[in-house]
Symmetry: C2
Subunit: 569 residues, 2 copies
């Protein structure tokens, strides 16, 4: 039976659902409606367009075979009608019609549907402060705006930029401005770390350090109070000072466009996202919704999760397309995944952070491991850093994070753990995760497996850890304490520290510990230090055997201290 499907929103999910449906039901009719003239573009590519990596906006709107996905393309190639510059005003569910208005001439009409798809997406959150309407104050909400930003950059209108918000889009935009355009860029974040809620403070600190090495100023715990200027923005005033800026990018997160659904009486969540079942149906079975405007189950917390992502949108779009055609495809939810390029490093996460885990009621801990991303004897390799978040009671794995170079090494490990998170793995499953092995790609005992092993050792009380920020605090307060910092590396590595801090920094290489046990202070807290945390763990066990138990293994070791940007010399 031929049907008419109306799709509201023609970016990511909308086109995916429409095309999938048409492939299954070629005799049916599909109409897509979008308030913009630019449709079906890769919104996630906007920072790379602004940076110049992607030279032309049409590339974001093209297929992999270089056809521009405009209304004509959809008509000719996909047999789908697109009404651009057309805004959906309301849904009449009883009569199964959508009221739309042409943006250009304000003409209105009703579109009848048999089934409706809401692909209304999200919008940038606004800041409730004065000055956001000044020229030069932008968000990165759509491709038209991005084109205007890039034009301004090309015209030399911008020397100093402020990015408000250190989430993914904020950081990607900061890199885009600073890297190619050489703009003096400051990122202001109200939280006490970059990427709050996504990665741990330690991972954030390492990434922040890398931003700073690339001439981006990062200001944390700072709240923007107003933007000032006459016509164009000139200054950003915060609770801590004033920063000159001729461009301000507001990137403080996105909010779901659920208003149309809510007004039509569909169920929406507390924060306004559309509620759908696992077939991506709203509370009206003739209306489907997906992408940035919906909540789906968070597979770790079991609660509704909001995951604005082009990737989920595409996969959900296919599910909707199948179900519009009478199929029974399911989207069961998400564990939450994240990856970002920050200049020369990659930073990724899957599942939930330690902070979130504790807020959700788990008795959670995290362990941190640094190790080479390939066999340590293989010539081309980099250190990488991973963190595992685990529930003490069940030993269930709740999340994983990784930071490393711009190979796909971090992507590969976090991907593998992300893939199994929905199956409720324990630390033992991580210890035995079957990572593909050959020396150019991985280690025989890969960093992922080491992460599982470390978590198990900590859970069993074998490995007593401190992390790098605790280490930094103890180091800075060492004058008021009797803590001894015991370097378990070879003398060559330990020497500069031991010589500079003879009262605090002691060197006993782990392989000499057995014979030099009498040099170890028995009555003081000992911080055990090596390059990555492996030898210091071994030293901790050696000391415990001799009854010395007041020891703390610095997890991630000096490699992490260095990456963290804490310079003791």
């Amino acid at each position: 039976m031929s049907q008419h499907i109306v799709v509201i929103g023609a970016v990511a999910l909308g086109p995916k659902a429409a095309c999938r449906f048409k492939r299954l039901k070629p005799d049916s009719k599909v109409t897509m409606v979008d308030q913009s003239d630019l449709i079906s573009y890769g919104g996630c590519g906007i920072p790379y367009f602004v940076s110049g990596d992607v030279s032309d906006a049409s590339q974001l709107q093209s297929t992999s075979f270089h056809m521009v996905r405009d209304a004509k393309f959809f008509h000719n190639v996909k047999d789908i009608d697109v009404l651009t510059n057309t805004r959906a005003l309301s849904i009449d569910r009883n009569n199964k019609t959508v009221r739309v208005r042409k943006v250009l001439d304000q003409q209105e009409e009703n579109l009848s549907y048999d089934q409706l798809v809401l692909a209304t997406g999200s919008r940038p959150k606004q800041l409730p402060i004065p000055g956001t309407d000044l020229k030069g104050v932008v968000s990165v909400s759509n491709l038209n705006e991005a084109i205007a930003i890039k034009q301004g950059l090309a015209n030399g209108e911008v020397e100093k930029a402020v990015v408000i918000g250190a989430g993914a889009i904020g950081l990607e935009m900061a890199e885009a401005l600073a890297d190619l355009w050489g703009i003096e860029t400051t990122v202001i974040e109200v939280a006490d770390q970059i990427l709050p809620g996504i990665v741990s403070p330690n991972m954030a600190h390492m990434a922040q350090r890398h931003l700073e090495e690339n001439d981006i100023t990062v200001r944390l715990g700072e709240m923007v109070q107003q933007l000032e200027g006459t016509d164009r923005v000139k200054k950003v005033t915060t609770n801590k000072g004033v920063i000159d800026a001729d461009m301000v990018i507001i990137a403080v997160g996105v909010a779901p466009n659920g208003e149309l659904a809510k007004a039509a009486g569909l169920e929406v969540s507390a924060h306004g996202a559309i509620v759908v079942n696992e077939r991506m149906q709203t509370s009206d079975p003739h209306i489907f919704a997906g992408g940035d405007c919906v909540v789906v189950p968070h597979l770790l917390t079991g609660k509704p999760g909001y995951f604005p992502s082009g990737s989920l949108a595409n996969r959900q779009g296919r599910v909707i397309g199948t179900n519009l055609a009478g199929g029974n495809a399911k989207f069961e939810g998400a564990v939450g995944t994240f990856i970002i390029k920050v200049f020369e490093i990659s930073l990724a996460s899957a599942g939930i952070s330690l902070k979130t885990a504790r807020a959700e009621g788990w008795d959670a801990l995290s362990v941190f491991v640094s190790q080479f991303d390939r066999a340590h004897f293989y010539p081309e390799k980099d250190l990488m850093y991973m963190e595992l978040i685990v529930d003490r009671k069940t030993e269930k794995v709740l999340g994983v994070q990784g930071l490393g170079s711009m190979t796909d090494a971090v992507f590969a490990r976090v991907n593998a753990v992300a893939a199994i998170l929905k199956y409720s793995p324990t630390t033992a499953d991580i210890s035995n995760l079957e990572v593909l092995y050959a020396p150019p790609f991985s280690a025989a005992m890969d960093i992922v497996n080491a992460l599982g092993n470390t978590a198990e050792n900590v859970l069993r009380g074998k490995n007593k850890l401190i992390d790098v920020d605790q280490f930094a605090e103890w180091w800075q307060n060492r004058d008021g304490s009797d803590t001894v910092f015991l370097d378990c590396r070879g003398w060559g590595n330990a020497k500069p520290f031991a010589e500079k801090y003879p009262d605090d920094w002691k060197s006993i290489p782990q392989d000499e510990l057995k014979t030099r046990m009498d040099e170890v202070p028995r009555d003081k807290p000992l911080v055990l230090i090596c390059n990555t945390g492996v030898r210091s763990y071994e030293a901790q066990l050696n000391l415990r055997q001799k009854g010395i138990t007041n020891t703390y293994n610095l997890q991630g070791g000096m490699a992490t201290v260095k990456k963290w940007g804490f310079d003791l010399l």
Copy 2:
């Protein structure tokens, strides 16, 4: 209670089990026995040592912090005694002793044990042909042999080499010889593809093509009959000809060293590997075994699986160490994973191949997808190629393979699927696999997800495929058939083919198909062709709508034909 643990074999699993046990039970005594003087080296690194990527053999024997893992290291750092040059002759299970003989002076003694670990590993399979005892005929069984090979190469003794066996070690050694040393290298394989039993014929063909581009000669379906020479090898005679060679590397697989266990009455498998339970215990609960000498459950077939791998050995070693100390760690088995660097490409697999799946009784099919490894608009990207093996009846995923550039892109995707294989995923789980997404790392609809989607379309009868070798056969036999090859790409791409083969190759771009439907031959088999298989699938659906169903979509498209090395122009 202090115990004495004896470990037979001091490479990979042995040291891992010994060290883990000592960390848990520092007061117990451990003795490791090895017939060689070189112990605890990374055997998987041998090809990279021979190639020169790893400059010095001691690097393979060193920790990541540059300590050489020799007997002295184990004594001083790990409190483990190692008897090198010591061969285990027999096990007296009643008296719990191991009879050992010093290789150098033939002295024998008995070692008492409380618990015993068999880490006897594997040996290269021998060829039952004359001449294998000639000088210059080697396997790559241990580090001493590798050092001798490299010395011979450095002395200029080798101009032409033959590698017998196109498995992982054979190919890695062929690359090592040809790449740095510039040796004229021929690989001879008795099967009709390289990497038989590991990857599909198509993947193998693409990798073979790349070997040939790098000046390695590959001879398939050829059986070596004898090696000839007076003192040193000079010729290799096969059932198809004679090849000059002054070095022959025999790499026809490995066999488990299970004899010691068998002689002691322990249970061994049909092919001589030691049988262990999930705690890695042999049929004698006081004796553990792991690594290349054991079988563990194959998690896809449920049968005993033989997985010689440094990675499994390390993970199993840790399980044994834990259990020696009274723990209850488990190694549940493996799905089988593989990755190899072949010059500038990486090739990986997990699970079982189509051929194996059918041999095991599944009604299996495979689908093949080519797609960029990152967002198609991101400037740095490469095409990659993946195959998914699926059971038709249950839609269960049985295996996955990938081929791409030497980024970790292939590693990342196959790792993720490998990780979930033990959870019995279906194609829907692959369609919805939560791959981390950002344009520098992946596509919004990533190739892995596309692989799941394609499999589903094929299973539902929506997508009727042929693969590249079928295409090649039909193309070569086109004069005797009425098959039409319909190019669905733009005219620019199709033109050279359509002009060269006006009778056979027809061009109708997919976006023009609707209006040019009357040009399509309705009574002939149509092979539908585009660059990657996406537009040709769309064309297949367009044609089906018009009642034209005798069509075959070339999976992987012209990108795959090109990578396959089939040049039509």
